[in-house]
């Protein structure tokens, strides 16, 4: 009997393990398949693909610099807006708010994350963009001279994209920061209060303790912002030009794939778009892995700091 039982356990392990292998294979397959499809473009353009600005499918010229610029610029701007707000929400929910309000607030922020990208995009086109345009036109001329605000006030452009991205990543950053703050040992805050700290000073102590995890949370938001497609495509203006202006219509990597892939007729064009996707995949992979590493190391430190035997769950 024991023999057949160990045999059955072995088969169970192999059987379920196969599905685990499948997951690993899938992730590798994404990288390999995209790399194979972008060979044509890599061979033809090499590194110039990422250094040149001309994107002219008709002439067969493909330079992806505007897309990588637009992706990074919009995501960084979005994080600048979203991070303080998301941290404020996390601190409010985990440290300040009355217990009755906690669950409803968590639910509401989750809802913000659950609304489909396409709905944000629709709202962006018909509500946000006109509002941004109104703000842009009302800006005094003196400010319009600055490179940051140059160009026609179209509404469609970098500012609208950054705003909508910020709204979309706030729930991600705030929910992970909340988890991270939850893992800060109570002794940290109690110690601060015992030393006569004000509320803010105790919060600052907790935030400082959790800093690694919070950086991880912000980076996870960055990863989300880089890959966000529909809402950005609908409001950024889709113009492949590198510009620092917040008013200028620009383009992102995800947006150019979404807009042009179905219509890309020749092989080189398709290959150039796939290469763009491959690089987007690699960047998000690196950012996400790093952020998870940070969050994980923070959770481990917090667990180690608590009394032995008390297993705190890792924030994942």
């Amino acid at each position: 009997m024991p023999k057949s039982r160990s045999r059955s356990d072995f088969l169970f392990r192999i059987g379920t393990g196969t599905f685990g292998v499948l997951l690993v294979v899938l992730v590798c397959a994404i990288g390999v398949v995209l790399a194979r499809q972008s060979v044509l473009s890599v061979q033809k353009f090499g590194m110039n693909f990422w250094r040149t600005e001309i994107w002219d499918p008709v002439a067969g010229e493909f330079g992806a610099l505007p897309f990588i610029w637009g992706t990074l610029y919009s995501s960084v701007l979005a994080l600048l807006i979203a991070t303080p707000i998301a941290l404020g929400i996390a601190v409010f929910i985990s440290e300040l708010c009355p217990a009755v309000l906690r669950q409803p607030l968590v639910f509401i922020t989750e809802l913000l994350a659950a609304i489909p990208s396409i709905v944000y995009g629709l709202w962006g086109i018909f509500v946000l963009v006109p509002a941004v345009r109104a703000v842009e036109t009302s800006l005094p001329d003196a400010m319009r001279q600055l490179p940051l605000f140059s160009g026609a006030p179209l509404g469609l452009g970098m500012l609208s994209a950054a705003l909508i991205l910020a709204i979309m990543v706030i729930p991600f950053i705030s929910s992970i920061s909340r988890e991270v703050l939850k893992s800060v040992p109570a002794a940290q805050r109690e110690g601060a209060y015992a030393l006569g700290a004000t509320r803010f000073e105790a919060i600052r102590a907790a935030l400082f303790y959790a800093r690694t995890g919070i950086v991880g949370a912000v980076m996870l938001g960055f990863g989300r912002a880089l890959g966000e497609t529909m809402a950005v495509t609908m409001v950024i203006g889709n113009n492949p030009k590198v510009s620092v202006s917040l008013f200028a219509p620009q383009y992102t990597m995800a947006a150019v794939i979404a807009n042009e892939f179905a219509e890309a007729a020749d092989d080189l064009y398709l290959s150039a778009l796939v290469e763009t996707g491959l690089v987007l995949f690699i960047i998000t992979l690196i950012i996400n892995s790093l952020s998870r590493l940070l969050i994980w190391s923070m959770a481990r430190r917090a667990t180690a700091a608590q009394e032995p035997g008390v297993a705190a769950e890792g924030a994942s």
């Binding site: 599905f19 685990g20 899938l26 300040l96 639910f107 913000l112 396409i118 709905v119 018909f126 892939f261």
Partner: protein, 283 residues
Amino acid sequence: MTTTGRRKLLSSVVVGFCAGAVVLALVPLAFVLFFVVSQGIRSVNVSFFTHMPTPVGETGGGMANSIAGTLILSGLAALMAVPVGVISGVYMSEYAGTRFAALVRFAADTLNGVPSIVIGLFAYVVAVLPFRQFSALAGGFALGLMMIPIIARTTEELLLLVPGTMREGALALGATRARAVFSVLLPAALPGIVTGVVLALARIAGETAPLLFTAFNNRFFSTRLNQPISSLTVQVYTYATGPYEDWHRQAWAGALVLVLIVLVCSLLARLATRRLERMHARG
């Protein structure tokens, strides 16, 4: 002002900022919901669900084909993702300490973080290119890929929550590991897993990017799996970026239906979780 006074003032300012941040995040949520409901309600009626889109210029009509398409695509995705997700979740929880389980977990988290448009590209190369044909199957495959990691991680977490005594009891009665998992642990975790699947369905039903060049779109009512198929999200995208007033109205109506799907699913999931928590609390 004394130092203490200044510190107290700073503290109140920061507390005020945090409360302000919550309000600030509620504003866009309220705005989005307000516009989706007020604009969408004007075009959502019975014919929206039962009629096909009318030709440009004619008012009325509905999105019956897109609604059916979204249901079919979500069903295909679940068909693929539920078995793969649940079983790999079982593996991760059963062999939680091993190095390979950690690798699988890493793969699941990575897959979860892959931008949806990249998933679409992958599905195009794997499931559209070889057949030279956009198809519902390719769309379902893309959505399924997005669903797998969510279900796997939910299953893993919920199985780890099942009290160890239940597993020990099963094993003590002579059950094999497979028997313990499938007859004792999984049934105990089932309500939570179902909740996770519902939430994952709500999320992928709202996805657009992976469908743009896999399922594509279809003006006609289609249930054929090897043909392009319409979906609510892609149709809303087409309508929203089109030039016609009537299309925009339809887009808002589609958005309202999408938001309702998400809202109902999250509320149901929340109620179910609360019920589960109470059950656990009672022991």
